[in-house]
């Protein structure tokens, strides 16, 4: 038994990967429900594995798993410390609640004969995201990043049944995503050229002595730009709004909550573990490039959100803003700032998961999601809209919600660095969130329903349960915050440990 548990680090990736081709076999019976059930089981299995891994790491410290028993740095190593165990939990946890929600909305939004392939791509996307997070090999990150990206292009394009713009959204994401991933590989090439290793720990050791090497500097620049593209940091966010808007609901939930977060995790890994402040201009790029971009992202995203008439698009713009908050936490590069960043990765996954789920409920009932089509719906769909508003409050950062916790830590981090001018900017950013959330409340509750609209009923309980589970998490981790704060603090300490 213990022997089997020892292999969990590989199983959490290998099981979704192998189950994807098995899922294709359901095409022979044209059994859509079995494919969904299969995806559900795999997601739950991954979630259980992630819980086990996090527990194990909390109790016994880092896990280093050697693939095929080949010793690192020659063999591939899966290295799990607190940070990636936490991100694994986020990815698989969101998948575990999103898939139960998915059956009805997928039935509505995807052609019946494509649904099995849809679930197959979904499993591949899950594999990719889990793989990027767990691996301790830099080239492996690229491969898994591409697995998750390629499958997400497919998944986004499947939104074509509701709107043909899903195709162009997927195409643009494909072009930019590939450019980003290729930049990342060029960077890795430069690092490999001077160090001769791809293992992250080994890289980090060897880079310590190579602080003045020009190739390392070039590699650093390529990797940072590539990852910034993948995580949609302003001004490299252009692929994001359309992708989230026109993707099928299940995919909007899953990608909005996890995909950009995983790229941020990789950025954290490279900035702090691999490069680990081994040369002087890393703090400079954080302060003079990342920080300004993050502030612009907050304002651009929030103001952009205010002017949207499509609800999903509105929240896609707000995602651009939220990435800004996380990047500010990274740019502070003190323990509290990084705690805020790690916390917000988790908290924002909960918030955006819940919001896009509520949006999915609306799509299920109303179809197109313009601010006009939800007029007066607040009374007709009370559970969906109250969930949307509670998640919105969490997005703004009202006390007792998770959004408050991460913003509070962000402010503490800013005070520690003494960057006072940032504080009003963060507060104004949150006020802008109030504006766009209020816009939805106003339309849904205070506008009369158009007289020609047939009465709309509340969505089935099958959709409400996952939605309210996420809302519950938003408040549970907002009140019982010590669990997540404890993990995030320790994660931040691990990240900064490498600092000379």
């Amino acid at each position: 038994m213990t022997n089997w548990l020892h292999h969990i680090p590989i199983l959490i990736v290998a099981v979704p990967l192998i189950s994807a081709p098995i899922c294709v076999l359901f095409t022979f019976g044209a059994n859509r429900k079995a494919a969904w059930l299969w995806t559900l089981l795999v997601s739950w299995f991954a979630f259980l594995c992630a819980i086990y891994l996090l527990n194990h790491v909390l109790e016994n410290g880092e896990i280093s798993y050697h693939l095929g028993s080949w010793k690192p740095p020659l063999g591939i190593e899966y290295r799990i410390d607190l940070i990636n165990a936490f991100v694994l939990l986020i990815v698989s946890g969101i998948s575990a609640v999103a898939v139960p929600f998915g059956r009805l909305v997928v039935d509505r939004e995807i052609e019946p004969d494509r649904q099995i392939l849809f679930y197959t791509s979904y499993l591949l996307c899950l594999t990719g995201l889990l793989g990027v997070t767990i691996t301790g090999d830099a080239f492996n990150i690229f491969v898994f990043l591409e697995i998750s990206s390629l499958s997400s292009y497919v998944l986004i394009a499947m939104g074509v049944r509701s709107d043909r713009r899903a195709l162009t959204a997927a195409y643009n994401y494909l072009i930019l995503g590939t450019v980003g991933a290729t930049f990342f590989v060029i960077g890795l090439g430069f690092l490999y050229m001077v160090t001769g290793t791809l293992n992250i720990m080994d890289l980090s050791d060897r880079l310590m002595q190579l602080a003045d090497n020009k190739a390392v500097h070039a590699g650093y620049a390529f990797i940072i730009i590539g990852l910034a593209l993948k995580m949609a940091l302003f001004p490299m966010h252009v692929w994001l709004p359309n992708s989230y808007t026109y993707a099928p609901s299940l995919i909007s939930i899953f990608l909005a909550a996890t995909a950009t977060k995983v790229s941020i995790y990789v950025l954290l890994r490279f900035l702090f573990t691999v490069f680990g402040f081994s040369f002087d201009f890393i703090p400079l790029t954080l302060t003079f490039i990342f920080l300004p971009l993050a502030i612009i992202a907050i304002f651009f995203g929030s103001i952009g959100a205010i002017f949207q008439t499509n609800i999903k698009r509105l929240f896609a713009y707000s995602s651009v803003a939220q990435i800004g908050y996380i990047v500010i936490g990274i740019a502070l590069s003190n323990t509290i700032g990084l705690t805020a960043a790690v916390l917000h990765i988790f908290n924002h996954a909960l918030i955006k998961g819940a919001i896009f789920m509520a949006a999915g409920c609306l799509v299920y009932r109303v179809g197109k999601l313009t601010t006009d089509s939800i007029r007066g719906l607040g009374k007709e769909m009370p559970w969906t809209f109250s969930a949307l508003i509670l998640a919105g409050l969490s997005l703004i950062g009202i006390p007792t919600t998770v959004g408050f916790i991460s913003k509070w830590y962000l402010l503490l981090g800013i005070m520690e660095n003494g960057w006072w001018p940032l504080i009003p900017l963060i507060v104004i950013g949150s006020l802008l969130a109030v504006v766009y959330i209020w816009k939805i409340i106003e339309v849904a509750y205070f506008f009369p329903a158009p007289p020609d609209r047939a009465p709309v009923s509340e969505v089935p309980i099958e959709l409400l349960i996952p939605l309210w589970i996420l809302i519950g998490c938003n408040f549970y981790f907002g009140i019982q915050a010590d669990i997540t704060i404890g993990i995030a603090k320790e994660a931040a300490t691990i990240l900064l440990d490498n600092r000379p």
């Binding site: 390629l150 394009a157 162009t168 072009i175 450019v179 197109k368």
Partner: protein
């Protein structure tokens, strides 16, 4: 100076290809041409890795029993994976272009954005009417 350039001619070639590819992606409005540009861009990276792996006077890394100098096989293996990724990307990109042409009747970015604008405006008009 000139010797430094000539000694590293393949790196210069790689940079040249890389910039050509990226420039095509950015500047062309034709969706197929963008994918061609992307391909050139990716290929330059393959060449970069293979150049890294080359050892002077090295042969293919096959054990023959005689003492020989081998090229580093690891970059080759890595790039094999990257080539597969590149092919998948190209295939998916082209498939998307086919679908885009079916629904928009064009593969020129300008035409597509015009008809998307039109679609967005008609949605807004529906709201105000």
């Amino acid at each position: 100076m000139l010797a430094a350039i000539l000694d590293h001619y393949n790196y210069w070639l790689i940079i040249f290809l890389m910039m050509i590819g990226l420039y095509i992606v950015v500047s062309r409005g034709n969706l197929i041409k963008k994918i061609v540009g992307l391909n050139i861009f990716q290929t330059s990276v393959f060449l970069l890795y293979i150049t890294i792996g080359k050892v002077n006077y090295g042969t293919a890394p096959i054990l023959t029993g005689q003492p020989e100098t081998f090229s580093n096989p690891l970059p080759h293996v890595l790039i094999l994976t990257a080539i597969v990724v590149g092919i998948a990307t190209t295939a998916l990109g082209l498939a998307l272009v086919v679908r885009i042409r079916e629904s928009y009747g064009s593969i020129e970015e300008e035409d597509i954005s015009v008809s998307e604008q039109f679609q967005a405006e008609s949605e807004v008009n529906k709201i105000s009417s």
